[in-house]
Symmetry: C2
Subunit: 162 residues, 2 copies
């Protein structure tokens, strides 16, 4: 498989996970968190599929397409390990969906970050809320749910707050 094939497959998997999560949270009120704005494509997808939900976005700095930059009061800039606890304090434990894609090429560092974030993500989610992540999240209050058909295990992870 070429890198073009693999990239298309990864984006399709990401979209399938978002579709699945949107169905899961149909009856769960609450806001949405996008950890890692990047070029803003996922943020744009979330606001398209979840009109009316408040979406808060986190990144070190803004590098997104100009059309995909959230309003300043919905943007948390800085290290996620600092800004996510700030968001919990400010917004309360009222999230219905968290999408996190903050991994880098360094797997050890990704695992450490995932271990740090898992309890904070669980704290900000309502029971029944969903987290989609690019890294495995282990926490007693997070229960893995089945990935959509066609998404290779390990490519993405989906958990429900219990």
């Amino acid at each position: 498989m070429s890198r073009l094939d693999s990239f298309i497959r990864r984006l399709q998997a990401q979209r399938a996970c978002l579709t699945e999560a949107v169905a899961h949270i149909r009856d769960v009120d609450g806001f949405v968190l996008e950890l890692g704005l990047g070029n803003g494509r996922t943020y744009d997808h979330l606001r398209d599929r979840l009109p009316g939900r408040e979406i808060y976005v986190f990144d070190r700095q803004v590098n997104a397409h100009p059309d995909c930059i959230p309003a300043a009061d919905h943007l948390f800039l800085g290290e996620i390990t600092t800004t996510l606890p700030q968001a919990l304090a400010k917004l309360g434990p009222n999230a219905a969906l968290v999408h996190t894609d903050v991994g880098t090429g360094d797997q050890k560092s990704n695992e450490r970050l995932a271990a740090t974030l898992a309890p904070i993500i669980r704290s900000i989610l309502r029971v029944g809320g969903i987290v989609i992540s690019d890294q495995a999240l282990k926490h007693p209050g997070l229960s893995p749910i089945a990935l959509p058909e066609g998404v290779k295990p390990g490519r993405y992870f989906m958990n429900k707050a219990v």
Copy 2:
């Protein structure tokens, strides 16, 4: 349609055009030119789908994934308006396939570049060779061919050297 949807559709269209072109040049000997290496995904796709073909790559500078950087003797670095004529002089008019994706956000400048490149691309192609481009190429020696099913007209352009 979200930017994620639109990006997936664009990559699928690109892959479909490459597949179509590979079928067209089955009986046309010759090398392959990739104008615009970028992250190297298309280059990787071309070498995967066209094993045994010489592939020459052009870019201002190398920003590709380390696995997708061609050998120095298959890489032309600099302004494409300079390096493409150099390639024609060095390699001769023996290309079977040219893939060009060098457009920027500035449509006027893209059209000027396409007008400059069209005759050089035609000169380097063998009769029966194919050029896939992100801009319309107009030249009496280039004849448009049908886009693969599902590819929106204007998203990509395919021409055969006649």
